[in-house]
Structures are given as structure tokens and as C-alpha cells.
Amino acid sequence: MTLQEFQTLCSALEQEYTAKISAAADLAAVEELRVAALGRKGALTELLKNLKDFSIEEKKTAGPLGNTLKAALTAALETKTADLAAKALNEELNRVDLDLTLPARPVAQGRRHPLSIAQKRMTDILSKLGFTWAEGPWVEDEKHNFDMLNIPKHHPARDAQDTFFAETGSPLSLVLRTHTSNVQSRFMEKHQPPIRIMAPGRVFRNDSLDATHSPVFHQIEGLYVDKNVSMADLKRDLTAFMKGLLGDKTEIRFRPSFFPFTEPSAEVDVKCVFCGGKGCNICKGTGWIEMLGSGVVNPQVLKNCGIDPEVYSGYAFGMGVERLAMMMMNINDIRTFYENDLRILNQF
């Protein structure tokens, strides 16, 4: 065999097998071709047997030629194998028939109580506004719950609170705190301004349980005392708070009111978020929803706590968590919060 003949056979072999490999229908056919081409008795092996008859010079040409051919066929076989494998995998994947619209497999389903969720939202906003969390006792003496807050004994303002009295061995007359404002007197008694605190928590009123009253409910108190604090500061901070709670378009207004521990006192209304102020059932046609009570800390309260009202001034506000939660969560009976019906709890 001449070198030229060898070369011709090589390229004929390459052409033949490349075509066959590319046409192979499955992995078995590919394997058959591999054996036929590259196996011990394969076509390439047979062809290479002729090498031994070539001179050294010829071998220098024919040898690499054979190697190149072997590499080319090996590569063609590998490519085809990978192609067929990919195709087979793809077919297998496409044979999967799973109804993806079946219900989700439940993972842990616990929830926080709607009041906790509402309170957390409020304390988070206040926290961002720089208010520090302060706590006070729930069983409180009358001094901190009433007297220091300018709610004197034998005054109708004190009667209005429907107080629970506790029976203890303490020489002080103890009540279940009627508002979170006891934290005001507790905190100011111990700290000089600047003071910027919030006091969330439970309060107690001797009110029978009905759709709008509960003997136990939750409030959040806010108190800011520093030099030059005015009603305008109150309006700014409450506007920011209400925007945080109800959205950026929220507007608030002040309405004069009376609380013994603030002077001037203001009720804060927000423009009805349900009708945009046009008037609806929720705002009783007024366009405004009553949100909370607030005002400038009565100078007598500051004095009672050892803070000089000629140097410092402050504002305070207090709001009912239930009230806000009921509005935001469309709950119209306060008892819903204390029944703990799982079918309600799992909605939030």
C-alpha cells in the first residue's frame, strides 16, 4: 500500500464513519459503530496494520494521520453520545406529569396575634422616630396612675376611668392601671429631659365586655420632653407616625379636647382612609376618623415629677391598639381579639 493509498483510505474511513455516527439512532448503534471503527477488529485498527509496511519517513506522515483520524472519530462518537443522552434526558423530563396546581404542602403555620402584629407595627414606627420602649407596672398605685397625672381624688375625671382596685398587703391603694400614662409619671420621676419614650401595654377598665368595650385592652403611650417642645412638634411627629401606619397621603387634624394631664389637649383625627375624606359609613360621613388623644404635657404634671416647666416642655399622646387594629383589619367586634378563634387567628 502506498502512502497515498493509505491517505485516501483514511479520509474515506473518516467520511464513512462520521456519516454513520451522525445518523446513529440510539446509544446501542453508537456503541456498534465504536466497535466497528475503533474496536480491536475495527476498521481503523485494520487500516493501521498497514503502517508496519511503511518506511520510517512514510511512518512520520502516516502515523499522525492515523492518530488524527482516531481522535476525530472518538470526538464524533462522544458528541453523538452526549447528544443522545441529552435527548433521552429531555424526553424523560418531558414525560413527567405532575399537577402543579395541587395544594401546597403546609409548613409550620403559626401566627402572631393580630393585636401583636398591630402593636409591633406601631412600636416599629415609633422606634424609627426615636422613641425608646419604657415599661411600668400594671398593678399601680393611685399616685402614679392618677395623682401625679393631675387627676385629683374626688374629681369626675377620675370617676370616668372606671377603675379596678386591687386587694393586696401594700399600704398604698393599688389599682389596675387605667391607662399607659402611669409610665409617664414613673419615667419622668426617674429621668430628666431629654425624654422620648413609648409605653405599649395592657390597661384595665371596669367596662363590661361588648362589641366596642373590653375590661382589658392595649394602649401605646408616647412622651417627648425637652426644651422648646410645642404642639407643632406633636403635629409633626404624629403626622409622621400616621403616614407610617396608613400611608404617605395620610392627613391629620387636631380637635380641641380635654385630658387632665395635657394642656392644651387635642384629639387627633386622620382623614378617612376608606373614602379619602368624602364621607362614608366608617367615618360616619365626617370624612375623619378619631385616632388618639394628645396634648402638651400639663406643667403641673412636669412639676409633680420634678421637672421644671419653665425650662422644659413636652407633649404626650396615647392611642388604643384595638381601635386602630379594628379599623386596619376590618374587625368590627373587639371581642374577636379575645376569643382566639383559630379561624380568625390564622388569617393574619
Partner: protein, 794 residues
Amino acid sequence: MKILYSWLKDFIDLDLTPEELAQQFTELGIEVASIEKKGADFEGVNVAQIIHIEDHPNSDHLHLVDLDLGEGKTQRVVCGAPNVAVGQKVPLARVGARLGKMVLTPAKIRGVASEGMICSSDELGLTNTRARGILVLDENIPLGTDVRSLYGKADALFELEITSNRPDLLSHLGVARELSAKLNLPVKMPVIQDVKGEGECLKIDVRDSAACPRYSGRLIRGVKNAPSAEFIQERLAAMGLNPKNALVDITNYVMFELGQPMHAFDRNEIAGDTIVVRRAQKDEKFTLLDGKELTLDENALMIGDEQKATALAGIMGGQNSGIQENTTDIFIESAYFDAPLTNKTSKKYNVTSDSAQRFERGADIGMAVFALQRATDLFLQSCGGQASVISDQYPTPYANPVVRFTPQQINHILGTEIEAEKLKEIFARLALHFDASGPEWTFQAPTHRRDLNHRWDLAEEAARFAGFDCIPTGASRAFVGFCDNPKGVDLLELFAEQLAGLGFFECKNIDFLGEKELQNFGFNPKNAVKIKNAMAKGWDFLRPTLLPALLKNVEFNTRRGNNDLALFETTRTFSLTKGFPTETYTIAGVLCGQLTAKPFFKDPAQKPDFFFLKGVMTQLLQGFESVSFAPCKEAPVYMHPKICMDILSNGKKIGVFGAVHPLTLKTSGIKTAEVWAFEFGIKQLEKSFSAQSFKPAQPAAQFPPSLRDLSVVLDKAVSYAQVQEVLQKTALPVQLHFDLIDLYEGEHVAQGKKSITFTLAFSAPDRTLKDHETDAAFQTLVQALHNSLGAELR
């Protein structure tokens, strides 16, 4: 406080609709609870009958309606009401008619001229329902009837919420004064004849002038009691009172008019000729007008003669001296009684009245004699008779303090820039004396405004009368400062979030429970905080444990078909420590039914067991190195005696977890057989909790462990904890981690024995262990288990 619009107009000329007036009240800080409209405020509206209806050519909801006006006249109007129908008799307002403030003019509605309108009840001002639809009248009313004649004169009754600092607003005069300052209109005082009177009055002996700083009165002899004048009856009825007779009605009338409570005594029931104002004697008995019998103490203030009491001062008269139908001589009292004293007495004896409500908030001490004159006038008009001179005991005339302030201080409090001139105008209208001639102003309030004592009070008045909208939204100011939440708060929050993540639902319960529940849960009522004035039986104590309420939640939910429950609550519990209340942040939970993270529809149900609960507790508390669990030596009465573990912190018990005792379930009304529960206080945990510090991280192992299974046989009585302790405490030159993989009792081990199998993982931080190292460590453990617990390799 009820305010009748027409009565208010006696004192001030108002030209506002009831809605506009309500708006004024709101701006003043007087909450309007309700407005009840009475009568008709329209003219030129007549009854007409609908005789024909056709569709409006340019609208799909409007109609052209022909009406018969009577006397052969007809009228066509455009009407959009959904309820319009042929044959109805309706109120028709024609061009020129007046509806409230609106006068009807000709209109073209979608191209069709309309010379009038059929009115709804709201449009006539009869209701405020915002309901759509025309008012349909009775078919028997003759055509052409003036609709106004079907309804009374226009009026409105306001129910106002008066805050306790403003007793001066508990009268029509007071409300008129407030509106006068707001609207800058004059107040018209009632014109009274200044009856000087003839003849002696009773002598007045005030023995406690602090309790009664003013007492005035006069006799009227020879009156003839009769029904009071019609307008008085009508107005009192509007106030919610039943008119009785002129003598009684007039005292009430003057109170609602001027705010001064008055009392009329039958002169002939007063012995002697002196009225004595004194404190009661201890245990003095007194019977009120309404028949209620009181036993008084020395604080109560009494009105009487020299022998007996005839009234509980300022609160209620006595049965012994009330006005009768045939009373001929009366003594009228117009006084001022101390506010706190009245409140105290009223509360102590649980007696209240319109009079008491005014005195306890603070009446107008300056009004006593004027009110007496006003009442005299009305008495003489209605009942005739002869008035005596007035006795007026008022030794120390009251004056409000003089407030000194600058306009800058007012603006400083409010954060406003109200002009000085505006402030002057406002204060001048409110003051008895006001001087703004110097840089420092002085203000003195009249006697009916005892609430204006310092500049903060005046700042509020400035804002109210300038309008609260004058308060701007302040410029932002920085506040720099940081303080962590109280630890207990953060810790409870941490636990609550974890529990919710583990499938538990948070509950909130009322903090009260009853004595029986306390005992059922093994708490001594003596150590619980009792509520003196509990609102219901079973709500007498503040709860020392959260579990009773959580079990009630289980009962409530299972009754509603929610059988798979994992509930928790975090709040404070209460107990008495040496008589003083202690409040403890506590967390508790219950678990029953199937796991609330329900299995997928095709998977088998999963029920929680003790070890699931233990897993929850481990998950919650694993960060606290001080915490350990140990089987209860003596379980609480409400827990299963054998399935209950103590939660310990540094060996101190802080709570328990386990199965609830079946009897506790039964008394709680729970039918579910198994309920798991836990409860612990966090006071001990707070000590080791810090938001700032973390446990130092340990590097993750770099070399693979060598694994060996260890299976030993030992006495059944040996607990897992004992085995675990040996494995943990045996000193080894290598690191050990172990997992329990099997526990076996039965035919393959001897009676009274059990087999326990672990996978042991031996490792070192710096190398892969050689087999001989692993073997040696393994043998050490086998030996240790044998020596300590008699364990034999299986």
C-alpha cells in the same frame, strides 16, 4: 348635655343650620354625640299627586313627572328618584320654595326645564339618612296641603359630650357664651324683673363655709302650684325630664338654662326660721326624695333646720321636705357647694343627680343670686305668691387667679405665630379683666371659668378660638439617643416569633380568673392579687398562670371544630410576695389534636407527643446555657404525674412542660384526650440575655469523623440521662458526638434489661483519626458505661 337649638337662640342670635352649628361645636372641642332634628325648616312645599310618568328623552334614569296640584292645576318636573310611581302623594317644592337655606330656582336638567322638585325626607331637612328616594306621604292628605303643617316647628336637639373641666357648658347660657366668643356675637341675658321682695327670709347659718362658700335663698309665700307653662314643659321634655308641676319644673328649667342647680323646699316642713348648713353626724339617718335611706358619716354636708336635715347638699332633697301639689310656701335654695366634697358624697352613697353632676364639676359661684331672681320671676308668673327678700351668705367672694403671660409664651407653647392683635381679641372676649397694655399681659377669668389658671390654659383657648388648624406641622428636629428595649420585652418577642415559626398561634386573653380556677390549678388564693370590685364572678383575681385561659381557648376552639391546636400566650402573670404584687413576664402554650402544620393531603396525620413538645422547648431554650430539664419530682396538680418535666435555670425551677392532667382537662370542659402544655417565667433568663453579646463562634470541623455504632445492654431502670451523662463526662483524648439510634426491650435481651444503641462520631480538630485512636476511645466509653451503669457490650 342636651342642648335645644331654639332654647339656645334665646341667648344668642344664630343663623346656622344644625350641621353648621355642629361643626362649630366640633371646632370648639365639644363633641356632638348626636343631632335629633325636629319639625320642618322649609316653606312653599305642598302636597301633590303623581298622575303621569314618562322617560326623560336624554337620560336612562331620569323621569318626567306630571303632578296634580289640586284645583285643576298640574305641573311637570324632572325627577331621578328610583321609587317614583303614579298615584303617590308627594311633597312638591316649586320655584321660589325654600328648603333650609336654599331657595329653588328654575332649572334645566339634560335639556328639559323643571319648575320644581319632588323632595326626599333629607331634602326637607327632616332626616339625615342620605337615603335615596322621594318622601311618599299618606294618600288621605288633601292635595295642596302645606307640608310644613304636617311637621312641627323646626328645631334640633344636640347631645353634647361635655368634658369634666367645663361644667360651665352644662347649660344653654354656657354654650351660648362659648359660641359668642367663637362667632363674636353678643350674649343676650334673660330679662328679669329685679324683684326686691318683701318680708323676712329665713336666716341662714352656714357652719362650714369651706364646704359651702355661698348660700342664697328666698321664701315665696302663697304660691298656687299648677302645671308649668307650656314652653317650660316642652323644653324639659326635650331635656329628658317628665314635667311635674311649676314649682319643681322651674328649678330644673333654670338649671338647664343658667347652669345653677336649685332646690325648692316646702317652707312648712322647715321647723323654725333658720336654714342650717352643716356636716352630718356620724351614723345620721336620712331618707332621700326617691325613698332611698342613707346612713351618713361626718363628711356628708346637710341642709336642714335646727332639728333635722332636709337635703343632702347639692345632691338630692329629703323625703321630708319635698314640694307637694298643695304646697303654698316655698324656700328656694341657690347655693355653691364644694366640688370634691360633692363628688365624694355622691360616690360614697351612690346617689347622683343633675344637680350633683354640676356641683361636683364646679358650678358658677357668681350665678347664685341671678339664678334666684330668674327663678323668682318664673315662679311669680306661673304660681303667683309673694317673694321675700333674698338671703345671701357669701362671706368671701370668689375670684379666679390673675394669669400673667406674654403673647410669645402662648405661641411658644403652641408652636404657632398667632398675631398679638388676634390674641388680644380672643382673650378680651373670654376675660373678666384683661390688660394687654404692657409687654406682660394679665388675664382674669370670670367665675364660671375656674379652669383658666395659667398660661397653658390660655394657650389652649387661643388655639381653640383661632382654630386648631393654626397649629403648624413643626420643622423636624434631631433627637439623638439610644436605649435598648427592656430585656423582658425583647425576650418575650424572641420566644413569640420562634413559637409562631414552630406552628403555634398567639392568643390574647383577659387577665382575670376565679377562686375555683386558682384552686384547680393549685394556687393559694391568698397569694394571688384579688380585685376588690371585680365585674363578674370568676373574674376576681389577676391570673398567676396563663394555662387556665389557654385551656379555655382549647375548649372554645374544639367546640367550633378547630381540633388541631397549637396556641401560646406571652404576657405578665401576677402574684403576691409578702403581700406586695409581683409581675412576671411569662410564656405558656398548649398543643393538641394533630400538628397544626397539617400533613399534605396524601400523608398520614402527625400527632404531637411528649418528645415533640420537648423539641419545641429545646428549640426555644437551647441558647440559654443555664437551662436544663429534669423530670418533675412532684408534678403540679394540673399536670400528668409522670409526664411532666421541670424547666430549670441554674438549677432553679422556672416552669414545667408535659401532659395536662386528665382531670384538669375534664374540669376545663375539654373532650380531647391529650393536651400538651408548657409554661415558664423568664425573669431568670433575662439575666443571661443580652442584645449585644453573642456566644463565640466555633470553627466548623475540617476533618471527617470516624463513625462507630455502640450497642450496650443495661438495666431497664437506667435512664437515658444517666447514659448520656457518662458519654458526656468520660474524659477522651478525642472529640465525641453521639446520636441515639435505637432503644430495644424484648425477646433478644434478658428480662429487666434493655439495649441502647448509639452512633458515635469521633474526631479531632487537626487531623483525621487513626483507627487505633478511635478503637481506644470506643473501649474507654464501653468501660466507663460498664463501670458506672453495669452496661455490657451487646
